[in-house]
């Protein structure tokens, strides 16, 4: 007997989301979208419960989660950092900023620092090309980033 261990609040929330979409297998992407919106990521237990509620194999749910880059199985940090790698940011040195972030945080893209404080992701264009290169920490946007400024930005959150 395989056991899915989740808190009562999570179980209720996920069940409610599935129910709001009529527990239809075809709504799996919408359900995952909502659930990730709430918890920031989709760990195995959550995928298993979604599969169970919608009556589809968990392999299919995982197939979807692993296909779309939007879905993630790693939890976000307290302060999620996103580096824009859109064209404008890229040509103005976003990659160097990203490398410096990786170095200072000691993590790769898609990972979280061991203390759970920062996570690092990349995205394509936040619509602030005039400020390129741009990074986001949570909802706050930092424009005209340079590798030298990384230390100061991170210090704001320590």
């Amino acid at each position: 007997m395989a056991v899915i261990k989740l808190s009562e609040a999570k179980v209720n929330f996920i069940k409610d989301v599935c129910k709001s979409y009529g527990n239809k297998p075809g709504e799996v992407i919408n359900v995952l979208h909502k659930v990730q919106g709430e918890y920031g990521y989709l760990p195995a237990e959550i995928q298993e419960l979604v599969a169970k509620e919608l009556g589809i194999p968990v392999s299919r749910v995982y197939g979807i989660v692993s296909f779309y880059s939007f879905f993630t199985m790693t939890p976000k940090g307290e302060y999620p950092i996103s580096v824009c790698l859109g064209t404008a940011c890229y040509v103005r040195g976003a990659e160097k900023v990203l490398d410096e972030l990786k170095r200072q945080l000691g993590i790769n893209v898609g990972e979280v620092t061991p203390d759970g404080k920062f996570s690092l992701t990349c995205l394509r264009c936040v619509g602030a090309c005039g400020l390129a290169p741009v990074i986001e920490v949570g909802d706050k946007v930092y424009g005209r980033m340079t590798p030298d400024r990384v230390k100061d930005v991170l210090a704001e959150y320590k």
Binding site: M1, V3, E8, V11, A44, Q47, L49, P57, Y62
Partner: protein, 594 residues
Amino acid sequence: MINVTIDNKQIQVPEGTTILKAARMAGIHIPTLCYFELAGMKFENKPGGCRVCVVEVTKDFNGRPRRNLAPACATDCVEGMEVLTHSARVINARRTVVELILSDHPTDCLTCAKSGNCELQSLAQYLGIRDIPFKGEQSHYRQDMSPSIVRDMDKCIMCRRCENMCNNVQTVGALSAINRGFSAVVAPAFEQDLVDSPCVMCGQCVQVCPVGALTEVDDTRNVMAAINNPKKTVIVNTAPATRVALGEEFGMPAGTIVTGQMAAALRRLGFDYVFDTDFTADLTIMEEGTELLGRIKKFMAGDKSVRLPILTSCCPGWVNFFEHNFPDMLDVPSTAKSPMQMFGAVAKNYWADKMGIKREDLVVVSIMPCLAKKYESKRKEFYKDGNPDIDYVLTTRELARLIKQFNLDLKDMPCEDYDDPLGESTGAAVIFGATGGVIEAATRTAYEVFTGKPLPKIDFTELRGMEGIRDAWVDFDGTPIHIGIAHGLSNARTLLQRVREGKEQFHAIEVMACPGGCVGGAGQPYHHGNSEIIKKRTEAIYREDLGKPIRKSHENPSIKKIYEEYFGEPCGHKSHELLHTHYFDKSEHVEISE
């Protein structure tokens, strides 16, 4: 009907026919790779992914040539269409496609388990590929081995046959395409091991895999080591369906019966005793039939605690399936062990005692058409003091390999008999190999025991056939008995769902996990989608039954004797100890934590 011209041949086809099927009707061979059809069994895989079957449409619906080559498997014919299947442009494209596939495929054909049976290898030969011009990164995945199946996804070509089989034909849902682009692969959820997934080990994914990505666990060396160990007595038992398929591996036509030659070959391989699983199939009927009659009688007497229908439990893939998917119905299947596990229990207790052989010195090998049997033999409840009732399971394919390695040809073998007493069997036992067979065998015995009268006719043709779900009323001398049959696990799920919801009532249901029953098992010679082969094997099963002097399990003299000498009566104390089992809830449960 619409008119199409393929390779200058004019033909008429029904609307909705694909170019591939139209070409086949016209006797024109278009090579395929990802495409797979099991005709009459509702399985068609046509993701249009590999592009090997591309053809040139020289005249399309608009009277003009189509710019791009079209995949024949996924393009419907239209009125007036003209198609070239082997133009220079087509052949060139086809070769490039296969070269690209090969550029991300290991070239270890010399040691690959699928060599000689590999559709990619055949295709490379057919297209005369002598060099792989494209060099680049190759995908690498962790190998995974369950008790039944080896997954080597470095060899996967993403044809999606296994995924389609697992999800649509079997509704097991263990496998899915995961990840994206170059790292895309077919795997269980979270890339966990197959053994931790809902996989039921039916192995149909192996039966349809065109390459060596999915193969069976090979136990031939373990068996040879046991035979070469002078301290061990090594005995073998052969499942019903193996005798109508083994011949194919030696070039005999599908449906050739090789029972006697197989027994002879097994002796020459060095097995000390050659027995038959058919013997314990007869024993299964005695136990399962008695259990069925017991339940029916109690039910008729008004005992509401009795669960009907009784479900057959011979098929280990099916047992795994209901443990995963119908945990609320674990008391419904018969508790009788499968014929193979009964054989192990009888051999290592009754027979070993009789022969004065110590349990640990006796090695029991099974020849099975099945991959789930490998797993079944390793279930903990079938062990005693760390020693399994069945030591090794070889598939029909593995046995064929062993026979060839010993420089033997089945065609040259004389017909020999099985050894006594665990080799004597009836026609009722051999039909276990085909869908509907177990329940027909049970009906033959149950009728006579229930009514106390001889059967007016032995053949219950109403229980036979290839329809996925069948049902029939059998008249037990005034008492109508409703019997259901399903083969292929999606059909089993549908039928069980109806029972669970109370939409339909049955007295007994037979389920076989594989399409066609054991004749279509995953351990049988590869049929490469030719369902005619499965039908021929089925016909052979019923021919073998017809040729047997005794055709009812309860009339088997060795079965009568084993009850007199050892078990006492069916479903008695000793039977329950050795011939019956229990089932486990393997479904997913939500537990509140934190």
